[in-house]
């Protein structure tokens, strides 16, 4: 076939990309099964498992009681004994309800037992503020897992990345925490028909620029691209680096970008204090302080709980205007 003939691009949502990744991996490997609250006939409260029950039946698409410790701990038990569970916590906030199972069992069981056991499982968690579901159902708690060596942390921002990263996560023999932003399930993008994977731990330059590096992940990638487009009108050339994974962390890509632009803004939705941005800033301070022409800035959620009111929730979220202001300030 000629290189000039390009198949028409197919556009699907992140929700559909996740459904496709799950279905294709379940067809490919009969050891893969899905388990969580309302994931069966109902298809998940965000629709991410819709259609799986009809295709694969109740033995591979398993509704659980409201038992978060079992969802994760039971998943670990199944992963230790020959299966490849993809379990779901209905809201990422619930990782605190199963913190020991995630941080000590998913992450440490193999290590504690001398590396003789494997825990090939994925924990999917819808995260982020969307729709006024309040302080206990809106968080982006990924930074908590930075203190849980042994679990990978994956956070896609596009349909293409969501599908490729979820497939890699399911095929990986290490346990993976996979965050999906609740406000992004309807975001559309191009996704090829054919099978593909994206390696874990490889950041992606979503926009190439020379003046300032915005390092971000999840929904903040959209925010960053919007701010970058505005900044471009003012002659500021912004680079947007989507980390996609916080573990494995693509330190090389971070340093490469910062050494190029000399200016770093880290942007994440989670509250600023103790967020993953602090870790990125610390790495850059340790490894590339000499390359910085200005102090590092962070544009993040404020250090207060996320209000229930949708009006106040919108005001809580870091937005492109906040980021644009930081971009303008850092290049001055």
């Amino acid at each position: 076939m000629s290189d000039l003939i390009v198949a028409p691009a197919r556009t699907i949502t992140i929700g559909a990309a996740i459904r496709e990744a799950l279905a294709e991996e379940m067809r490919r490997d009969e050891r893969v099964f899905v388990m969580g609250e309302d994931v069966g006939k109902f298809g998940g409260v965000f629709g991410a498992t819709r259609g799986l029950f009809e295709e694969f039946g109740p033995k591979r698409v398993i509704d659980t009681p409201i038992s978060e410790m079992f969802i994760v701990g039971g998943g670990v038990g199944a992963a230790l004994t020959g299966l490849r569970p993809v379990v779901e916590l209905q809201f990422a906030d619930f990782l605190m309800n199963a913190a020991d199972e995630i941080m000590a069992k998913m992450g440490k069981w193999r290590y504690m037992h001398g590396g003789r056991l494997t825990v090939p499982m994925v924990l999917r968690m819808p995260a982020g503020a969307m729709g006024g579901v309040g302080a206990e159902h809106s968080q982006c708690p990924e930074a908590l897992l930075l203190q849980a060596p042994g679990v990978y942390i994956v956070i896609p921002s596009t349909p293409y990345d969501a599908k490729g990263l979820l497939k890699s996560s399911i095929r990986d023999d290490n346990p993976v925490c996979f965050f999906e932003h609740k406000g992004m399930y309807q975001v559309s993008g191009e996704v090829p028909e054919e099978d593909y994977t994206i390696p874990l731990g490889v950041a992606d330059l979503k926009r190439v620029g020379g003046d300032v590096s915005v390092i971000c992940w999840g929904r903040m990638v959209q925010v960053a691209l919007k701010a970058a487009a505005e900044a471009a009108k003012q002659g500021i050339d912004v680079e947007v680096l989507d980390l996609r994974c916080l573990r494995p962390l693509d330190v090389e890509a971070i340093l490469r970008s910062v050494r190029k632009t000399g200016r770093l803004i880290v942007c994440h939705e989670a509250s600023k204090t103790g967020g993953a941005g602090a870790e990125i800033a610390a790495i850059v301070a340790e490894e590339a302080l000499d390359a910085l022409a200005a102090p590092i800035r962070r544009v993040c959620g404020p250090d207060v709980p996320i209000p229930q009111s949708q009006h106040l929730e919108r005001l809580w979220l870091p937005g492109s205007k906040d980021l644009l202001a930081a971009i303008q300030a850092i290049v001055k």
């Binding site: 009681p65 039971g74 004994t81 299966l83 020991d100 504690m112 042994g150």
Partner: protein
């Protein structure tokens, strides 16, 4: 497998091995060469050996922190066990998971132990779900104490196991003490086994100092699980003959638990019931002692790992 004289002798041999293995370990602890904290198993060996003797090699064992009876009955290598406590490269985890908590041998179905209490209930239930989904007749057996029956994990695990009829056997080793707190104070209802009714599974109380009774109860539970009829909760009543851990002053309770030594009772019974002669038992015991002596001598020759060991085995 029926409770033949051979089975009885095999159970006694493992119990005796657990007691002798532990006595030798206590000497190593006194010498200051042991890494970690040991939770002695004296008083529990009858329950642990009796229950595990009802399992097959490919069944899953999620053991508890108390003693090594369950591990030896499942076939754990004695040198590896000593190596784990010495923290050297002959340990089952090559010096990493030193101490009772993290002995591991997947080939024998020894799937590890949770340092945080109650969590093994969840993992064992998940392993039982796995066996059911894969269509095997494997079962998972999990040991825990009366103290761990009061965690939320107990409810989540028993509920799922009962609702889904999972092939898991919960063995509660009820010694009446959660470290220093007595069960009468901490536990409503006075019975763990009676809770089973609420989870649609049999709850069986058994004398945990009688290994043959435990074996028969466990066999019934295993057979039920293999038939797809679901879980069983076994509450074995027994006594913890030493402190919660080595170094526990154990000054919060009376010493009447010394009267419930399963090893002494079982040995006397084997003689009284003419299962074996004194000479036969002495011969068996001498063989165990030799085995243990050889194991500890081998294990003491193991090398301590280098710092690089810290960075091995976290990821695949």
């Amino acid at each position: 497998m029926p409770l033949t004289d051979d089975t009885k002798l095999s159970i006694y041999r493992h119990m005796y091995a657990a007691e002798r293995w532990e006595a030798t370990l206590l000497r190593l602890i006194e010498q200051g060469v042991v890494s970690g904290i040991y939770h002695a198993g004296r008083g529990h060996e009858g329950c642990e050996v009796g229950a595990v003797s009802a399992l097959n090699k490919d069944d899953y064992l999620f053991y508890d922190h108390r003693g090594v009876g369950h591990l030896l009955a499942k076939g754990a290598d004695m040198t590896g066990l000593y190596g784990d406590f010495l923290g050297n490269e002959l340990g089952s985890t090559r010096g990493l998971g030193a101490g009772i908590v993290h002995v591991c041998d997947p080939e024998l179905g020894i799937m590890g132990q949770s340092g945080t209490l109650g969590r093994g209930q969840l993992l064992a239930t998940g392993a039982a779900l796995s066996a059911k989904l894969r269509g095997t007749t494997q079962v998972a057996m999990h040991f825990f104490g009366d103290g761990s029956s009061n965690l939320g994990t107990f409810h989540e695990s028993c509920n799922v196991a009962g609702a889904w009829k999972l092939p898991v056997i919960f063995v509660v080793q009820n010694n009446g003490w959660a470290v220093s707190v007595p069960i009468e104070y901490s536990t409503a209802g006075g019975s763990i086994a009676r809770r089973a009714e609420g989870y649609a599974m049999p709850g069986v109380v058994v004398d945990g100092t009688d290994p043959f009774a435990v074996y028969e109860v466990a066999q019934t539970a295993v057979a039920r699980a293999r038939r797809g009829e679901g879980p069983t909760l076994i509450e074995a009543k027994l006594a913890r003959m030493r402190g919660h851990f080595e170094g526990d002053p154990d000054n919060y309770r009376s010493k009447d638990h010394q009267a419930h030594d399963p090893l002494v009772k079982t040995r006397r019974r084997l003689l009284d019931e003419n299962v074996a002669s004194e000479a036969r038992l002495t011969e068996l015991e001498n063989a165990v002692k030799e085995q243990i002596q050889a194991a500890v001598e081998r294990a003491r020759r193991g090398r301590m790992p280098e710092r690089s060991r810290i960075f091995e085995g976290l990821y695949v």
